[in-house]
């Protein structure tokens, strides 16, 4: 077993469902952090905080288990994980901006969500302070050497896209470094959720990242259900999966179209867009909302699928099933298109592993991670489905993984809809206190939610979008590519801005 795994497993625990949380002393946390550079050390999945503690979720591949650990913040500090685990960096910056806990020895202590614009500082700490000093311009990593030039892009980009800043340092056409700065969309979501019942707070989980509204709602509901010991009826779990798979297909369709569109190939976005619209309309018929927002709630789903909803969805799937093979052949048949995607924006399997990237970003770079399979959750544990994996890690591989996932999800949808279990679709959430972790596999990958309930209300919560571990890989993927390939590369990742800006 890894050193970190041993340190964590021997520490005393506090109740958290389904995995106990290990309470580490400062020294133990420091030793755990120091061992994260060893071969076979666990992957970092999330790092977050509340007013008194810092929490980490790790995956120990050796012991095939997930580990939750926490340590008390001592005098405003805790030992940083980022020196041995660079993927902790953005989390540490976020924790500092929201709660004021400093990662001592951290690789990067610059502000992240904090742009100097909120009326208060450390907004989630016990005592937020009124802001006194005005905003300062952000500091970027230095680039030294002759002939480098910088291209600042954003926060407002050229298209209908979320805001963020990309700072390219280029040598001629070639990108030497991309630095991403986010935080423009920070809405204070976590603070708004505190003190509310899970049922009320579900509206915020549904709006963390609109394109993943279903999967985030599922992860949140499952965390609340784990914390309160509630079990949802099988029909509710199956309907959640129907919505999750519809969401996955709809997003893959628009992104595959958009990638081709960025290579000036208009036919594919036209066709994929048409199928997407058909799916969204079917979703509106079946569940009352095109994006299926606010349908999944703690305890189940708000309403059963309407009579005729199943048929509406099946009617929308049929033309897509028919046309998909041909659309993939079209993608395959144009060298001008493949020329742009093959070999562009490579993420090596080693790097994807180091950042524990999930979803199509991970699967295009050799990582066979899918939460529907391991650790699994209902109803996927009784279903067979393909999890495609490739090794190339380029734009093309990410596109092909998505094509394969569309096919797999279409099969899942048919099975789910035909075998919908009978029965109720919701149960009241048991009120009480407790801590829980919930997960779901959204179209971008692994989603993790954690929360602590106190007398039926949320005392603390964190929602980890897959993009946290994918954005930094985009910085790496564009290295040594030409600036003009960035849109294509970016689209092939399609990370969420709102999802990480919280």
């Amino acid at each position: 077993m890894s050193t970190a795994g041993t340190i964590i497993r021997t520490a005393p625990t506090e109740s958290c469902q389904p995995w106990p949380r290990h309470k580490l002393l400062g020294e133990e946390w420091r030793a755990m952090a120091a061992s994260l550079g060893e071969a076979g050390a666990p992957s970092l999945l999330a790092l977050w905080a509340d007013t008194a503690r810092v929490y980490v979720l790790l995956h120990d591949a050796d012991a095939a288990g997930w580990l939750v650990a926490s340590t008390s913040v001592d005098d405003g500090r805790y030992p940083a994980l980022s020196p041995r685990r660079p993927s902790a960096t953005w989390f540490e910056r976020m924790i500092h901006d929201l709660w004021g806990h400093e990662a001592s020895g951290g690789r990067d202590l610059r502000p992240w969500l904090e742009h100097g614009r909120w009326p208060v500082t450390v907004p989630m700490s016990l005592r937020p302070l009124a802001r006194e000093s005005p905003a300062e311009p952000p500091e970027f990593l230095p680039v030294e050497g002759e002939d480098y030039h910088q291209i600042p892009v954003g926060p407002v980009h050229a298209g209908i896209i979320e805001p963020g800043h990309f700072r390219f340092s280029a040598l001629g056409e070639t990108v030497a470094r991309l630095e991403i700065r986010l935080g423009w969309l920070h809405k204070g979501t976590l603070a708004l959720m505190r003190g509310k019942s899970p049922r009320v707070a579900a509206r915020f989980a549904a709006r963390l990242s609109g394109d993943t509204t279903v999967a985030h709602s599922v992860a949140f509901a499952r965390a609340a259900e784990a914390a309160s010991g509630t079990e949802v009826p099988p029909r509710a779990a199956a309907l959640r999966a129907v919505m999750t798979e519809l969401e996955r297909v709809a997003n893959h369709l628009s992104d595959c179209g958009a990638i081709a569109g960025d290579a000036a190939f208009a036919y594919l976005p036209a066709r994929f867009g048409w199928h997407r619209e058909a799916l969204l309309r079917a979703a509106a018929v079946a569940f009352g909302h095109r994006l299926m927002m606010d349908v999944v709630v703690p305890g189940g789903v708000t309403a059963d699928i309407v009579p005729g909803g199943t048929e509406a969805i099946l009617r929308a799937l049929a033309p897509l099933e028919d046309e998909l093979p041909e659309l993939i052949r079209v993608y395959d048949g144009f060298s001008s298109l493949l020329d742009r995607t093959v070999g562009t924006g490579i993420v090596t399997p080693a790097l994807a592993g180091e950042f524990a990237a999930g979803g199509f970003v991970g699967r295009a770079s050799g990582r066979a991670i899918d939460l529907r399979r391991t650790p699994g959750y209902p109803p996927y544990d009784r279903l067979a489905f393909e999890v495609p994996v490739q090794q190339e890690g380029d734009v093309d591989a990410r596109v092909r993984i998505r094509f394969a996932e569309i096919g797999a999800s279409l099969n899942l949808l048919r099975t789910l809809l035909i075998e919908l279990p009978e029965g109720g679709v919701s149960v009241p959430l048991l009120l009480g206190s407790g801590e829980g972790i919930g997960w779901a596999e959204g179209f971008r990958g692994d989603i993790w939610h954690w929360l602590r309930l106190d007398g039926g209300q949320i005392a603390a919560v964190f929602m980890r979008d897959p993009s946290w571990l994918q954005w930094p890989l985009l910085e790496a993927a564009i290295h040594d590519n030409i600036v003009a390939d960035f849109p294509l590369c970016n689209k092939s990742f399609n990370c969420s801005y709102s999802g990480v800006d919280l």
Partner: protein
């Protein structure tokens, strides 16, 4: 292979939805709000610059659908443009985060007169579910005057299209 597909689609007729009838009263109300001089300047075409001022990205998903072959925004003379410098309309989504305020104002300033502002979504209307957060201003009108508000969370493409066409029709009267 593509040509064969394109021919097949031609045989089926357009995938684009026919234009819905607009509500005349709403068009008149909008016309009253627009200046006569501006109406003559712009004719029947509007260039739209979109800014996400804190959205969850749900509103963007539906805005994207306007460019799909199903809604085909451009047939009405409406199009999304990359630069505010040649835009007539600023279309804003999101509850206006404090962090986005300056970028939004700078985009607005970069646009030539006459110009209009369209707020899209419940968030842009008054902050939506994020109302009361330390991080948001609470609706786009906290920073800029709003000419047209299209509500919804998110508004469906058909609603967006009708709203934008009202602006265009009122402008051309």
């Amino acid at each position: 292979m593509v040509w064969r597909r394109v021919l097949a689609t031609l045989r089926h007729g357009p995938a684009t939805l026919p234009a819905a009838r607009l509500d005349d009263a709403a068009t008149r109300r909008m016309a009253d709000r627009l200046e006569a001089a501006a109406q003559r300047t712009l004719g029947r075409s509007l260039a739209i610059r979109q800014v996400d001022a804190g959205s969850c990205n749900g509103c963007e998903l539906e805005l994207h659908m306007l460019n799909s072959i199903v809604y085909d925004l451009e047939r009405f003379g409406l199009r999304f443009v990359a630069s505010p410098r040649h835009a007539d309309v600023l279309l804003v989504t999101g509850p206006l985060t404090h962090n986005m305020r300056e970028a939004l104002l700078r985009t607005w300033i970069a646009m030539p007169d006459p110009k209009w502002l369209v707020a899209v979504g419940d968030c842009a209307s008054d902050g939506g579910v994020f109302k009361g957060s330390y991080a948001i201003a609470g609706g786009v009108d906290a920073a800029l005057p709003v000419d047209l508000l299209i509500r919804g969370c998110p508004p469906a493409p058909a609603q967006l299209l009708n709203g934008l066409r009202t602006l265009l029709e009122a402008n051309a009267d």
